[in-house]
Symmetry: C2
Subunit: 97 residues, 2 copies
């Protein structure tokens, strides 16, 4: 295994996992697995309030898990990098056993 993470890093790490520890955010990320989507599309897809999705997208954005692209009135979100997918898949391995 890698170097032993010091305490401060473990706090950062906890913050990261906290972001994954909410089903709404997880469902949003899952929605973005294949393609980018606008806020409205995500809200409709998950059948939740636009406001709720927007709030949660901000959390994901703040934590650099999604990135943004504006196109006219719509704002398209997509996964920021491959870590997101891999972290989720790693968790799935544990859940699906």
């Amino acid at each position: 295994m890698k170097n032993i993470p010091d305490m401060e890093i473990l706090f950062e790490l906890a913050d990261l996992f906290k972001v994954f520890g909410d089903s709404t955010r997880l469902r949003i990320m899952h929605t973005l697995f294949e393609d980018e989507h606008s806020v409205g599309e995500i809200a409709e897809n998950l059948n939740m309030e636009q406001s709720t999705i927007s709030h949660q997208l901000r959390v994901l954005r703040t934590n650099k898990l999604v990135k943004v692209r504006r196109e006219g009135k719509q704002i398209y979100y997509s996964l920021d990098d491959d870590h997101v997918k891999r972290i989720i898949e790693m968790g799935l391995d544990h859940v699906l056993e």
Copy 2:
């Protein structure tokens, strides 16, 4: 990537990540990376109340992330399987970039 997880599984997955999303639990798991340890050892190591550690160990136990072995008065905890390490290391990859 694997099959698309259905909604119910995403809820379970969120619950799993929730467990990782607390620094005390993460520090406990990190303490157990190399060796098993008793509750008292962990508490001393992290400089936290025995009661706090015990409560959090129960959460970890409930979620099958640690396992237990009794030896006299002491109870020794260790990581349950390799997923734990791998999930943490995967998260570290993202934090340490």
